[in-house]
Each structure stands twice: as structure tokens, then as C-alpha cells.
């Protein structure tokens, strides 16, 4: 590197001067991406080597390893330096992102080396999500490939504004300008088609070091910046965000004693000063900043990118998940969105199922509608799809159970980017980017009701409840539920029984028996159940309801303690032996599809409030026990299930 000598001299002769210079450097995060074997890891190895970030012992180990498993003959295989996992070195491929660090006189760099295989797209997206810039490599011999397009698309989708097209391995095509120009022309077409307005193309050889830190004598026809020169002056996103309106998602409320209440968070955008008027979202209450607290003393002013603790002048309600924002320019609040999703799980998206959605510090439950379309990143075609499989990119509409404070992703990565989490496995299944809200939550005020649910219940002299019977078809749900209702009715209680078959003749007659339709069936029943319990009724439902996620979804709709899950535990063999409606016979014969227990799964309740074993307890005895629980034990001995 051309300035290495200067730096080394400074370190050796005046370390304190060097440290002052280093201390004031800013930091650029960038990724290297592109197709397999386009030389990403080699380029990073080169950058580290040239900036003297490889030590002698590491180099010695590398030389040994290159001879054993390298792909460069007798030369050093820099890729082995970056592929840090045993499985990667074994197979000679990059599986996961590697983070590497180097600095020049002007800047410090964090580079994330992203895998090229489509199979590992989620790891590439992990690296790209926090990058300010992307270096997209192309093998000059191969030109623009499917993965080049795919990664370009993802970089653009994730909002990386600085794209570098590094046409690599130029040494292998005789440093031919014609080859370079043809590749750039080809790339321009694709870039324009997806809305990229600007990129920088540089002809390089990562292996030989051409145009990396100094202009190469082999490419006299190129007069632009070297790769490092370019990366040294790319604008960093944090700088841009500092110029926008103030927003800080609250992470944690700091209450060491009764006299102090501070709101801790990382400022997402803008600046904040003592005395600034702020608004707390989603509530919309206003206050002013009284102090900006840090261990090093109070600050007069703080800006995007700093972690601070804010105190407010008024005793307003504010907790984790709220956003403190400039009072004059607050972000929007909504509960329905259009968003782009990158699906990252082996298990495909299930429309209608509840997922946890985490956006900044807000966590809510969200359901996704069937995708509007998926995108073929090679042809940019919109594909009609019913779901999103692993690595698919699509556009969807989603609904949250509570309003979210948000901004479109194009405006704010912090308030526009979210993840979806599977409620059962806890896996991160999707990266989401909000495009816009479908309707503003401010416009859908809940109808304020003068007669409350408590008043409804008091009139009926009872505590509302939802008795949710679940179990195989023919397990005895309806029989027992009927007995329970008769008994409660006789005791003067106000009840209503919702039965699977009855609901499907009316409210849900448009639904079939696919997984998606079954989820929607339960969701609607849940909503009706909730309204009836609001009216003060004791509601009984008898649905197979095979999925835990949907039973939990209904549980979450009603106040704690009101949902009583009754697992009618009849073994499949016994239910099939009884076969009251002759359905098992049809399912076995193949004339009835998606039948629970035969070709569709049943997820056994793990912590039901009540369990009925119909092989040892009669329906009458079970009904009696359930009534006792509802009228007695539940209200006294009810404990939250965690």
C-alpha cells in the first residue's frame, strides 16, 4: 500500500501523533459479494495483506495450508485466510459471512465477506443489512451471472446506496478494455431495470493487486479511482441520518431510584438538545427533553448513532418499544403494511399464521396474507405464488395485533426494517422491509363503548370464559361440550356453543381444508369468540384446531385467565375405531384430503388447563369436572401459565 511506509514511520517515530490521527478516523462498513469463485475472499485477503493486517505467524500458517488445500497451485491462497470454518475449508466454499478489519490513513473499514451460493442467501443478507457500501465482484471471464444479479438486487433492496462493480481477474483476460466495457454495459441494463441510479465500476485483479491501492500500469485506459481510494471517500450512512428528523426507539427504562427516570436508547436519526419538544409514539403524548445523561456527564446535544439516556420534563407514560421523536415531525403509526420479505427459513411462509415481528425495540404478533407476488431476480418477472419458500423474495401485506411506530424502509433502516420469528421454533424466518402502510391506525379509533365488558358480565352475574375443546375428529369434543353447556345452562349461566360443523355451514363456508384455510377458520372463530366473551358469555368451542400457534393466537385475544384449553385426549386409533361420521374411512381411502391424524398433523397441547382421557373417564364425569373448574377452581386457583 502506497501510504504504508508513511504510516509505519509515524508509528515508529511519533506514536502519540499517530494515535491522534487514528482516533479521529470514521468507519465504513462494506460487503464483498457476487457469484461463487468471483474472487471475493481473495480480494479481502489482498486488502488485509496490503494493509499489513496479516501477521507473520498467520502468513506462515497460510502458506502451509495453501499447499495442502489451496486452489492457487504453489501461490498463497488468500481465500483460506477468510474461510474460517472447517466445513468451508473442506469444501472450498464460503458458507457464512466473515467480518474482517483494516484501516488506511483516512478511514477504518469493517468488511463482511458474503457467501456466493444461493443456498446461503440468508447469510449474505445478514452481512448486507448493516453495510454502507457493497463491492460486487464479477469474474471478467464469465461476465454478469445469475448470482451477480441476485446480489445486486438484494443490495439495492436493503438500501445500500454505494455500489462498486469490481470487474475482477482482469489479468486473465489480458487487461482488455473491450471485455471490461462489455461487462459494464451489460450490468448497466440490469441496474437501470431495478432502479439503481448510480454505481462505480473499477477494473481490478485481487490476486495480482491491480487498481486496489494504486493505479495499475496494465490498465492505462482506466483513470478512475482505485478501489481503496473510492472506499475512502464514500459517504457513511450515519452521516446522512444525522441530518433527518429526531427519532430514538426506547430500549430500556432506567430507574435507579424514585428521583430518576431515564429512557435509554440508540438515536436512530437526527439530533436532540436539552429543551427540545418531543412526542412519545404510539401514544402521541408530548413533553420536553430535560437532560441527556451519560456517565461522562450530561450532554447539551446528541446525534444519530449515539447511545444515550434521555430524561423528560413531564411524568408521561413511556416504556420499551415506544419511540421518542421530534414533536413537529413524528413518524407514522399503523397496523397494516405492504412490505417486501426475504424468506430465510426451510419451512415456507404460512399465510394467516401468527409470527412475532420485531422492529427496532417493538415486538408484536403479525399475520401475513398470501403474497401479492414473488420476484424472479434474474428476469425481474413477478411470479404468482401462494407462499414464499427459502430464499424467495416477495411482496406481501401484513397485519399486526398492535399499532407499530414506523417509517418506510427507504427513509429509515431502523424504523422500516423488521424480522419475523417463528413462534414455535424461535427461528428468524424472514427479513422484512416496510414499503408503506395500508391505512393509518390513527384513522381506525376503536369505538369507545360506554357499556364495558365488565358491565356486560356483571349483568349476567358471571365471569366470562372461553372453553376451547381441541382433539382429533371423533374424540368426543362436541359430546362433552354439549353436556357442559346443558349443565351450565341449568345452573342459570349465559352460554353459547360454537361447533365446527355449524360454523363451516355459514360464517366460514368459503373456506376449505388446506393448512391456510384451516388457520383462517380458527382466526375467524377466535374473533367471534372474543366478541361473545366481551358480551359476558361463557363461550364453548369444539374444533379440531390442530395447530398450537392458532390456539395460542386465540388465547392471546382474550384477557389472561379467560381462555381454558380442554384437550380431549382420545388416541387416534380409538377415534378411528369409533369413526362416528365415517370420515376416517374416507380419509384412508384417499377421498378426503388433509385429514388430521391421517395426512395432516395434530400438535398435542403442551400445557392445557384441562385434559380429558376419554378411555378412562366418561363424558358425564368429564363435563362435571369442567363445570367445577369453570365455576370454582379457575377463579380462585388460576395461575398464569408461562
Amino acid at each position: 500500500m502506497s501510504d504504508t511506509y508513511v504510516t509505519d514511520t509515524l508509528i515508529a517515530e511519533d506514536i502519540d501523533a499517530y494515535l491522534v490521527q487514528h482516533q479521529h478516523k470514521d468507519m465504513l462498513r462494506f460487503i464483498t459479494c457476487g457469484s461463487v469463485d468471483d474472487g471475493k475472499s481473495t480480494l479481502i485477503g489482498r486488502l488485509l495483506y496490503d494493509s499489513k493486517m496479516i501477521f507473520e505467524d498467520q502468513l506462515a500458517a497460510l502458506e502451509d495450508a495453501s499447499k495442502v488445500s489451496g486452489t492457487q497451485g504453489q501461490d498463497i491462497d488468500f481465500a483460506l485466510l477468510v474461510d474460517g470454518l472447517a466445513a468451508e475449508r473442506e469444501q472450498g466454499i464460503t458458507i457464512d459471512v466473515a467480518y474482517r478489519f483494516f484501516n488506511t490513513e483516512k478511514r477504518k473499514f469493517i468488511v463482511a465477506d458474503c457467501p456466493g451460493h444461493e443456498q446461503y442467501t440468508r447469510n449474505m443478507v445478514t452481512g448486507a443489512s448493516s453495510a454502507d457500501a457493497a463491492v460486487i465482484l464479477i469474474d471478467a471471464r464469465k461476465g454478469v451471472l445469475v448470482q451477480t444479479r441476485r446480489h445486486t438486487y438484494l443490495c439495492h433492496l436493503l438500501g445500500i446506496r454505494h455500489l462498486v462493480l469490481a470487474v475482477n481477474k482482469l489479468d486473465l483476460v489480458g487487461y482488455d478494455q473491450v471485455v471490461f466495457d462489455a461487462i459494464v454495459a451489460d450490468y448497466v441494463n440490469f441496474a437501470q431495470a431495478i432502479g439503481i441510479s448510480e454505481f462505480t465500476a473499477i477494473p481490478i485483479s485481487g490476486f495480482k493487486g491491480d487498481n486496489i491501492t494504486s493505479l495499475s500500469p496494465h490498465t492505462p485506459w482506466y483513470s478512475g479511482p482505485t478501489l481503496i481510494e473510492h472506499l475512502e471517500q464514500v459517504e457513511i450512512d450515519g452521516t446522512r441520518e444525522a441530518g433527518q428528523a429526531f427519532r430514538m426507539p426506547v430500549q430500556w427504562v432506567n430507574r435507579p431510584n424514585l428521583d430518576f427516570r431515564g429512557f435509554a436508547g440508540l438515536i436512530a436519526s437526527g439530533t436532540v438538545k436539552q429543551g427540545d419538544a418531543v412526542r412519545i409514539l404510539p401514544a402521541g403524548t408530548t413533553s420536553t427533553i430535560s437532560r441527556i445523561v451519560t456517565l461522562d456527564g450530561d450532554l447539551d446535544e446528541a446525534q444519530a448513532g449515539q447511545s444515550v439516556t434521555l430524561c423528560l420534563a413531564d411524568e408521561v407514560d413511556c416504556s420499551r418499544g415506544n419511540v421518542i421523536a421530534a414533536a413537529s415531525a413524528p413518524p407514522e403509526v399503523a397496523d397494516q403494511f405492504e412490505a417486501s420479505l426475504v424468506w430465510m427459513s426451510d419451512e415456507a411462509l404460512i399465510p394467516g399464521r401468527g409470527y412475532w415481528l420485531k422492529l427496532a425495540t417493538q415486538s408484536v404478533s403479525a399475520t401475513v396474507k398470501p403474497p401479492k407476488y414473488a420476484i424472479n431476480v434474474n428476469t425481474l418477472e413477478h411470479l404468482a405464488v401462494k407462499t414464499l419458500e427459502l430464499n424467495a423474495i416477495g411482496v406481501v401485506e401484513l397485519t399486526t395485533d398492535k399499532p407499530l411506530v414506523f417509517e418506510p424502509y427507504a427513509q429509515s433502516r431502523t424504523l422500516g426494517g423488521f424480522i419475523l420469528i417463528d413462534k414455535l421454533t424461535n427461528a428468524t424466518v424472514a427479513a422484512g422491509l416496510i414499503n408503506f402502510s395500508l391505512r393509518r391506525a390513527q384513522n381506525v379509533h376503536w369505538q369507545a363503548l360506554d357499556v364495558s365488558r365488565e358491565a356486560h358480565a356483571a349483568m349476567k352475574h358471571q365471569q366470562p370464559a372461553v372453553l376451547w375443546f381441541t382433539g382429533f375428529s371423533g374424540s368426543g369434543k362436541s359430546t362433552i361440550a354439549n353436556l357442559v353447556e346443558k349443565r351450565l345452562h341449568a345452573l342459570g349461566h349465559h352460554t353459547f356453543l360454537l361447533d365446527g360443523d355449524n360454523v363451516r355451514h355459514g360464517l366460514n363456508k368459503d373456506l376449505g381444508f388446506t393448512e391456510t384455510d384451516r388457520i383462517e377458520n380458527i382466526r375467524r372463530v377466535g374473533e367471534v369468540t372474543k366478541l361473545m366473551s366481551d358480551a359476558g358469555l361463557i363461550v364453548l368451542t369444539a374444533f379440531i384446531s390442530p395447530f398450537a400457534a392458532e390456539r395460542d393466537m386465540v388465547r392471546a385475544m382474550v384477557p389472561p385467565g379467560e381462555f381454558v384449553e380442554v384437550f380431549v385426549d382420545t388416541p387416534l386409533a380409538e377415534a378411528e375405531r369409533r369413526d362416528v361420521k365415517g370420515l376416517y374411512k374416507k380419509a384412508r381411502a384417499g377421498t378426503l384430503k388433509n385429514f388430521t391424524g391421517i395426512d395432516s398433523p395434530y400438535e398435542v397441547p403442551l400445557r392445557p388447563e384441562l385434559r380429558v382421557d376419554t378411555t378412562s373417564e366418561s363424558p358425564e364425569a368429564a363435563a362435571e369436572r369442567i363445570v367445577d373448574y369453570i365455576l370454582g377452581a379457575r377463579s380462585e386457583a388460576w395461575m398464569p401459565t408461562i
Binding site: F55, D57, L85, I95, H230, Q233, A242, L266
Partner: protein
Amino acid sequence: MELLRFATGPADASGPLRKTMTTSLTHLQRLEAEAIHIMREVVAEAERPVMLYSVGKDSAVMLHLARKAFYPSPPPFPLLHVDTTWKFQEMYRLRDQMAKDSGMELLVYQNPEAKARGINPFDHGALHTDMWKTEGLKQALDQWQFDSAFGGARRDEEKSRAKERIFSFRTTSHGWDPKNQRPELWNVYNARKHKGESIRVFPISNWTELDVWQYIQLEDIPIVPLYFAAPRPTVERDGMLLMVDDDRFPLAPGEVPQMRSIRFRTLGCYPLTGAVESTAATLSEVIQETLLTTTSERQGRAIDKDAGGAGMELKKQQGYF
């Protein structure tokens, strides 16, 4: 359609947002803010967090960041030292002092089986690290039911660390599955887990050795004096310079420890930690030496050299930090 611009020189030298009233933050300011954000996320979402405290310079920085993150409250979690009984005496002294100064609870765990069997670095080789550190850590986390543990590991230390997420997920048996890491988007961390599973969290993942040193200097953070050169009693073993820190060190018949001016780049068990000959007695001199050296920080550590270049990865899969 707007014309595309490529290869035409500086792309961002001008632009409406280039000049704003604010100045851009330095890399250390950004790294500090990131680490604080990570710690607060853990405290907000975990049930029982703990900070692994090894008394080294990285632990010192991590503890300092924790005090900043939660000020004016003390950090709302205890410090855990998984002790091997073979650390340097000066480390034990600083450990107790720092716990006192920070107002945090200090938990010290020593694997009772390793203690009973007298496992030591001289007689038991790799078994020493395995039983005192790996097993000791797992036992300690299980005993106190910690579900999230902060560690001071950095991605620039070692090649498998360079691949690890900031929130690194562990199974009920504390194993790491490097081929199946959770995606980690932006700074939105998924801290959800099942009972018995845990998360190792590395708030200073993106710091380099130089960053750590410079931050210690700028923030005036107390560190173990062994990082600075001084005359100390030493012997040579397998090409490594070891310090004779107490009378448990087995000397050859007639062998007398030599006084040498040495210091340490990393600190672990004293019989396993190689020293470097040095005269660097101030932070500036230490940093200068670090920058001009031609060998990596972990070069003095025996642990990385096992199992054909995959030593650390293998240890992590077994539950090592």
C-alpha cells in the same frame, strides 16, 4: 432516464447532505454506541443475564461499557469469573478491586471435579483447559441458570470468531452449530429461545486489538499491570517465555528463573501464556509495539494450535467461549 455514472472519480465529494451541522462520529464512538445498544437489548429481553469476566483487557473494556450503558444504575447483572486457580496473582487482585469499584456482584466458579482431581496445566495438557474452562463455564451457567452471557471475544482474534454472530445461540448442552447460525439483520437481535437454551453475546465483536488499546487509553480504564513491561522471573519452555508466578511452577533440577523485562499481550493461565520481551512501560509504548509487531495477538496461546487449524471452532462447538 437519469444517466448512470461510473468510473468517473470521487462519487460523493459533493451532495446536499454532505455538509450538515453535525460532525460524523469517529469509529470508536460508533463502536461504543453499538456495544451499549447490544447490552441494553440483552438486559431488556433476557431473563438472567451475566457478564463473563476474565480480568483481561477485553473484559476491562466490556465492564467499562456496561457501566456506561446503565448509568446512573449499576449494571443489572453479576460478573462471573470461571476460575482455573492458575491465573496470575495480579489478575486476582484486580478482579476483586474492580468488582468492589463497580458495585456489581462477583461470582467465582471453580469446577469441583477439576479441583478434586488436581487438574493442572503441567501434567494434564489440553485436559486442563477442557475441565477448568469449558466444563467449568457450562457448570457455572447451569448452576445459576443464566440464559444470556456476555463475552469479550472479538472477531479479529481468530478465524472462526470472525464468522460468529453477535448473539450466538447455544443448545441446551451449550453447543455451537457454525453451519446453522441465525440470520442477524441490522441491529435487530432475536433473543428468543427455549428453556435450557442460552445465548452468548459479544458486544465488542467489531473491535480490533488496536481499538481496545486506544479506548483503554482514552477512557483511562484500569488494566492488569502485566500488560506493561517490567523485570519478571522467567523460564523458557517449548520456545515460549513463561513467567514463574508462584512456587507451583516445576523447575528442572538446578534451573533458576531468569529475570527478564517482559510483558503479556493476552492473559490466561500463567503456565500457558507466553510473554514477549519488551521495554514498553506506558500505554503509548505498548500500542506502538503492538502496531509494529509481526506476530498476531493469540500467537502466545496454546489453544489455537490444536486440531489442524480448527482448534477454536472445535472448542466452541463443545461449549468453550
